[in-house]
């Protein structure tokens, strides 16, 4: 099959467009496991359920005072006016408190789902939401395995509400408001690597007191907020079926196939079209004869 100038230019054009367009669609995720992220260690055994972290957070961000209080049988959830909740569960070791808020994943699903980079995993560790970027599509809420981003449904200018680990305070060398106020030592702020060391030490020193599992060390590829408790986390309302793969990985196969499809598909279709045309011409010529 000969290729004339016109066809050659056509193929060249289509290949060029797909090449340049395909490039921009690939994933460019840097491997972030080597970076030292900031994190928070929450030790459930030290928590007394005083809710001062909730109040401090509300004050820091001008949100209304938290309502209700931790009690067994009542599951409070974070919402658009409440970024932290402390809950109480009846467990095999009596009543235990547990804190819930954004876990600041190492490789967050919300940031990977965001088409405007409004959700951003900062180099310091906190996952923050940026008002000037967000268009309110709520993909972050669809993707987050912990259901943490919350949307202001009753506002004409809605925002996404979630813990931002007091990013501004951290940058100035401070620590998050909730950690600052916690008088019981249940919350510790520091580098994630150090926090894991601390958590391991605590388990090692008091093996009877703790459940030997640091929730967040491996879950969903590792989270910035780490949890220690005396009972299995299932009893504290945590999901134990989230896996240890980071969630953006579920998209990777699809996203990697995009440039390939954009390049190979048009080329294949053009070839198919050419061969069909040729056959048609042949048939019509035979008919003429």
């Amino acid at each position: 099959m000969g290729i004339d100038r016109r066809n050659f230019l056509k193929v060249l054009g289509i290949a060029g467009v797909t090449l340049s367009a395909g490039k921009s669609f690939g994933t460019t995720k840097e491997k972030k496991s080597d970076v030292e992220f900031d994190g928070i260690l929450y030790d459930s055994t030290l928590c007394v359920g005083c809710m001062s972290c909730e109040y401090a957070c509300a004050e820091q961000y001008g949100l209304p005072d938290p309502t209700g209080e931790p009690a067994p049988g009542v599951v409070r959830k974070t919402n658009d006016t409440n970024r932290i909740v402390v809950n109480c569960y009846n467990t095999s070791k009596g009543e235990q408190f547990i804190r819930g808020a954004c876990n600041h994943c190492n490789d967050p699903a919300c940031a990977s789902a965001c088409l405007t980079k409004a959700m951003l995993k900062t180099d310091e560790g906190p996952v923050i939401w940026r008002e000037d970027k967000c268009m309110g599509c709520r993909s972050c809420m669809i993707s987050c395995p912990f259901d943490m981003p919350k949307f202001e449904y009753n506002s004409p200018n809605p925002k996404i509400q979630k813990c931002r680990m007091c990013y501004e305070l951290i940058q100035e060398g401070g620590m998050p408001a909730c950690v600052e106020i916690c008088g019981e030592g249940a919350l510790t702020f520091g580098k994630r690597r150090d926090l894991i060391e601390i958590a391991r030490t605590r388990i090692y020193e008091e093996p009877e007191k703790y459940n030997h599992h640091i929730y967040g060390e491996h879950e969903v590829g590792g989270t910035g907020v780490l949890y220690l408790a005396s009972v299995p986390f299932k009893e504290l309302g945590f999901r134990n079926d989230l896996g240890t793969t980071s969630y953006p990985n579920f998209n990777k196969t699809f996203l990697y196939s995009v440039p390939a499809v954009l390049i190979l598909w048009p080329a294949f279709l053009l070839g198919l079209n050419n061969s069909v045309d040729e056959r048609k011409n042949k048939i019509s010529k035979e008919k003429m004869n």
């Binding site: 405007t116 970027k133 309110g136 004409p156 499809v261």
Partner: protein
């Protein structure tokens, strides 16, 4: 084009803007009331926030406008890429009479459903962000889908534009845009492949939230394959309705080819459905989710898979074998319902299934959803009544390849064409 011609074109368009046909028909009244109600609801939505109108919650963030109009509606717009593939790439000339209507339907579908997306966005004034390049979230599936929507809308517009030029009488523009057709068709098919599957990929990260019977890593492929017969089923219904509504103005070629086209589409649908069904069976076996089958969710799953995938597939095949148009149309309606079920199951009903609260949309959401569809139909009708979608192109259009009348050629008709050809 000089200024005189310009004013001529302008006058022509102003003249054509006037409604044709009866105004007070039942359809017009119902759609008019729905659209007016939707406008009121949308005013409330933009002043009081989304929560005042839709039943989306913190657990189920997307309401009906995204889950039905965008995610489901776009699957039905898939007919355009399949039909253009068959006509322009495979050279199956028998489908040519329906190309224009299909492309027009898809173009309007994308325009109106992208519009529905804007209604659902919390901060629609920021929608320009992922387009102008100040914040490209290139690792996001939605980013890809959004861009493909925009590019594909452009492709569909270029594919349809020759019809517009024939209507206004822009000969040179027609020539130019017709020469682009093959290129944009190929580009459009590639885009469609990716964004039809991309709509499924939106849910890949919702792994812990979607019921295991519906979630699998193959969602994108299932979405793509199902968009083939979803789109074609809609084309069958669209053609059936249009044959009645535009009966008077429809050209001989369109009327004559209708039965043959519907039956051939039925065959394609049957093949696509069986591929889809076997994929589903494979995914089910692969997922080892047998235990879930004997539960209310499992029964619901079987209703979808058997009742609205397998049965329409069999009906399509049977209808095609026995040349039964009615059966094919019933199959098409069932396949359409099946796709609606599938998309809503994944995005709404089986989403956050363990929460034990099933999300039903509010009546206000439904009114707006319907209004979007009604306005699409109204615009479709407006265009079909004016532009040569189902009518013959004006005489100045020199067809390089004459549209051939298809099948059921009686001797008499054959002779008629011979005379015409001479």
């Amino acid at each position: 084009m000089n200024s005189e011609q310009h004013t001529g074109v302008l006058k022509f368009i102003i003249h054509e803007l006037k409604p044709k046909g009866k105004i007070l028909t039942p359809f017009n009244v119902i759609s008019g009331i729905t659209i007016l109600a939707a406008i009121v609801i949308l005013v409330i939505r933009f002043t009081n926030g989304l929560g005042s109108v839709i039943h989306a919650s913190q657990d189920a963030p997307w309401g009906l406008w995204i889950n039905f109009n965008v995610i489901t509606g776009v699957a039905f717009a898939g007919g355009a890429y399949v039909v253009t593939f068959m006509v322009y790439i495979l050279g199956l000339e028998k489908y040519r009479p329906i190309v224009r209507a299909t492309v027009l339907y898809a173009l309007l579908a994308y325009m109106f459903y992208a519009g529905a997306l804007l209604l659902d966005l919390g901060r629609p004034w920021k929608v320009i962000n992922p387009i102008i390049g100040n914040s490209f979230g290139i690792s996001s599936v939605l980013f890809l889908v959004a861009w493909h929507f925009i590019l594909y809308m452009g492709s569909l517009f270029i594919e349809f534009y020759p019809t517009v030029t024939e209507w206004i009488g822009l000969k040179r523009q027609r020539k130019f845009f017709v020469s682009l057709t093959l290129g944009v068709v190929i580009f459009g098919i590639a885009l469609s492949t990716l964004h039809q599957s991309g709509l499924g990929a939106l849910f890949l990260m919702a792994k812990p939230k979607i019921h295991p019977l519906w979630y699998s890593e193959f969602i994108p492929i299932l979405f793509f394959i199902s968009s083939i017969f979803a789109g074609l089923s809609l084309v069958i219904i669209l053609e059936t309705i249009d044959q009645r509504v535009f009966k008077k103005s429809m050209s001989f070629v369109h009327k004559d080819s209708h039965k043959n086209i519907v039956l051939s589409l039925a065959k394609t649908c049957a093949v696509a459905i069986f591929v889809y069904f076997s994929m589903i069976v494979l995914v089910f076996l692969h997922g080892k989710n047998y235990a879930y089958l004997n539960s209310p969710w499992g029964y619901w799953y079987l209703v979808e898979i058997i009742g609205f995938v397998l049965i329409p597939g069999v009906l399509f095949m049977y209808g095609y074998r026995h040349l039964n148009l009615l059966l094919v149309r019933i199959a098409a309606v069932m396949a359409i319902l099946g796709i609606i079920l599938n998309r809503l199951n994944i995005s709404t009903f089986a989403f956050n299934w363990y929460g034990n609260t099933i999300h039903f949309p509010t009546w206000m959401e439904i009114v707006v959803s319907l209004a979007v569809i009604f306005s699409q139909i109204l615009v479709f009708r407006w265009i079909v009544r004016r532009m040569p979608v189902y009518t013959e192109s004006p005489t100045w259009v020199k067809y390089e390849k004459q549209i051939k009348p298809i099948k059921m050629k009686t001797k008499k008709r054959r002779e008629q064409w011979k005379v015409l050809a001479e």
